[in-house]
Amino acid sequence: MNIFQSSKSFKQAFWGATLLSVVIASIGVFVIFFGERYHLRLVYAAYVNLLVVLGLQVFMGNTNITNLSHSAFMGLGAYIAAICVTPIQIKKLSLPDAPWGLNAFELDALSSALISLTLTGFLAFLTGLVIVRLSGIGATIVTIAILVIVHSIFMHRTDIFKGKQAFFGIPQVFDLSSIIMISIFVIFVARFFRESKWGIQLRASSDDEKSADAMGVNIFKLRLVAWTLGGLILALSGICYAYYLGTISARPFYFSHVFLTLAMLILGGMRSITGAVIGTILITFGLEGVRFMETGPTILGLKFPEMLGLSGIALGAVIVIIMVVRNGGLVGNFEIEQLFIKTRKNI
């Protein structure tokens, strides 16, 4: 295990990821057995968001650079897989003018996913070459630029992406149990990365760039690794989105989704995987409650007024309160295994 500094950090990562997997899996299994049909949908969507949040955490949590382009990479993953996997007859109908013979081939789900991961990963790598050289606000603005550019292309190359119209006919490949397994896999990946030599060095460097420099850490290289890995996870989340929903459009991969998932990460605490998971769970369920209140329900004979926009206010309030009161999120640097095993002070 030479990617780890010590067997202790490996053990920590392993147990932490295992515990989180148990939590995540039990929620899913519970819903599969006892939930209504619409709960399955809801929870599936939550898992997709969990993947996005984890993809975001891998870069943001370890480098402390705000990334706002994650939904774009998710979209890329979704669209590339969708273009590959959708049957020719449907594409002839939905993408009659597609260039480069995009509507004249179809692949199986696995190859499509692999192509999507490869291409998105490559694009992440290319953009990463730019991002990692910038710091702070400059890096953030370039991530916004990526988001806008990708969205613009989705919107206006309607011959390939259909823009705001529906890209439909994607076969349903995944169900809830598949995404539970994928989530567990990604939790392990993210957790191992966090505890790896690279992760630890990255976090050290984001705390103090100069001293990390002096330690001989090549920040650029490490950031690039984190960015690309994050991009791959985001692509995976997009694939999961497309493979279940069957219909995608450019719309979901833009600012509102960016803010939603960002709030999830921030609430839990972006420095830790446990935080990412907790934030996702809390906001998913919290928003359900708030949305329900929004439409002015009657509870125990009490008629509440219609309060549209409440969920947006709640989301904004979560971000502001966390930033003001508890900058590190609910859990800060805490990881779940620390409940059970004593560990050295976390970096």
């Binding site: 006892f34 709960h39 809801l42 919107m155 119209q165 439909f168 509102s256 949305r291 969920s311 947006g312």
Partner: protein, 385 residues
């Protein structure tokens, strides 16, 4: 085990108590965009008001309407999960975000229950190409509104037109202008130029400078966009001295367009739009809005008002079939020669199955007040399927 789950999940999924299950109601599901980008298109105000009106009169065959409404925040995933939820509660029809990226998956899921997606305002053409069978739109698709506007334009002697297109509103803003152009060319006119814009646009001066550069000046400009952008276009064109008609689609049918004439009554004289239902003073829609206002349920704008038609169509079908079987209701809708609705006299789905056959009004302005310029089924509609 299941009741146990329900009991403990109340605080979490807090939504179970909200919809007490009455056996004898006509449930209609509305996972709609009350917030977010597409909030202006929600039909819910009119649907609620019409349901109230019918319920106050004792309902249909003694059954009352029960509308299950929840906000999707213009998010497809949310719309889909809410659809599942409403389907499990036994709705007879669903109205949702009126864009194909939501309507297609929602329709696919509803198909398993035999439930129809019944849209009050959806004009997108994609839904009529046979992707799904359980889709019905209560209005005419975009080519019809474009054709109606073009026919009126031709009757006003319009020859040279400029088309403003954008991908930001899907085919509605990208293709509708082209259909308009096709009808104009079919009538002997000419498309001078196609220009691009984005939604939102709050300053049209670059496009207007392009228009002035054209070799011959346009008689009309066609745009399928929304307010307030279109209002800006109208004022800036006038300011730039371009004396051309501005034609548009249902997006212009927003009460805030009228206020453009606040300081200059004549500014809207050459503005007209093909729309979904007549909205001028004295129209059935305005009467309906006044009635709802009196009920304390204000309905502002055309899209919100169109919800009434959906409820009336459902009421008709329930009465016809004597029950609430969703498939039977769809059949009843599709086999009727004429179904009475509120914003126009009647609609029929007999010929087209997936969209209403109804007259397409063209609305213009006289002295800053809306007037009905024409209201007919257009003679020439471009090939759009």
């Amino acid at each position: 085990m299941k009741p146990f789950f329900k009991k403990i999940s109340i605080p979490i999924f807090a939504s179970f108590l909200a919809f007490p299950v009455y056996a004898d109601t006509i449930k209609v599901g509305f996972p709609v965009p009350l917030t977010g980008e597409y909030a202006p298109y929600a039909e819910i105000q009119g649907a609620k008001c019409m349901a109230e009106i019918i319920n106050n009169k004792g309902g249909v065959n003694g059954k009352k309407f029960e509308l299950l409404v929840q906000d999707t925040g213009t998010d497809t995933q949310t719309a889909i999960s809410l659809t599942e939820k409403f389907l499990d509660q036994g709705v007879v029809a669903i109205g949702t975000i009126p864009f194909s990226d939501t309507m297609i998956p929602v329709a696919q899921i509803a198909a398993g229950y035999g439930v129809t997606i019944l849209q009050a305002q959806s004009t997108q053409v994609e839904m009529h190409t046979g992707i799904v069978d359980n889709f019905i739109s209560n209005v005419s698709p975009d080519p019809f509104t474009a054709a109606a506007a073009a026919e009126y334009a031709l009757s006003e002697g319009v020859k040279n037109v400029v088309l403003l297109t954008s991908d930001d509103g899907g085919s509605w803003s990208a293709k509708t202008p082209l259909w308009f152009g096709e009808v104009i060319e079919n009538g002997g006119g000419k498309v001078l130029s196609k220009m691009n814009f984005s939604i939102p646009t709050s300053d049209w001066s670059p496009q207007i400078a392009e228009m002035k550069k054209l070799s011959s000046s346009p008689d009309a400009v066609y745009i399928s966009s929304i307010m307030p952008d279109v209002g800006v276009l109208v004022r800036q064109m006038k300011a730039a001295g371009i004396d051309a008609w501005v034609f548009g689609s249902d997006g212009l049918d927003d009460p805030s367009l009228d206020s453009v004439a606040d300081s200059d009554k004549s500014i809207l004289d050459k503005v007209a739009f093909g729309t979904l239902a007549p909205s001028q003073p004295g129209s059935a829609m305005q009467e309906f809005q006044a009635e709802c206002k009196a009920l304390g349920m204000p309905v502002d704008g055309m899209f919100p008002a169109l919800g009434a038609d959906v409820i009336m169509a459902l009421a008709y079908a329930v009465e016809k079939t004597g029950g609430t079987d969703p498939v039977a209701i769809r059949e009843a809708l599709r086999s009727a020669d004429s179904i009475p609705v509120r914003t126009v006299e009647s609609v029929s789905f007999k010929n087209n199955k997936s969209h209403a056959e109804r007259t397409v009004p063209v609305i213009g302005f006289k002295n800053g007040v809306r007037v009905l310029l024409s209201n007919a089924i257009p003679r020439f509609v471009p090939n759009w399927k």
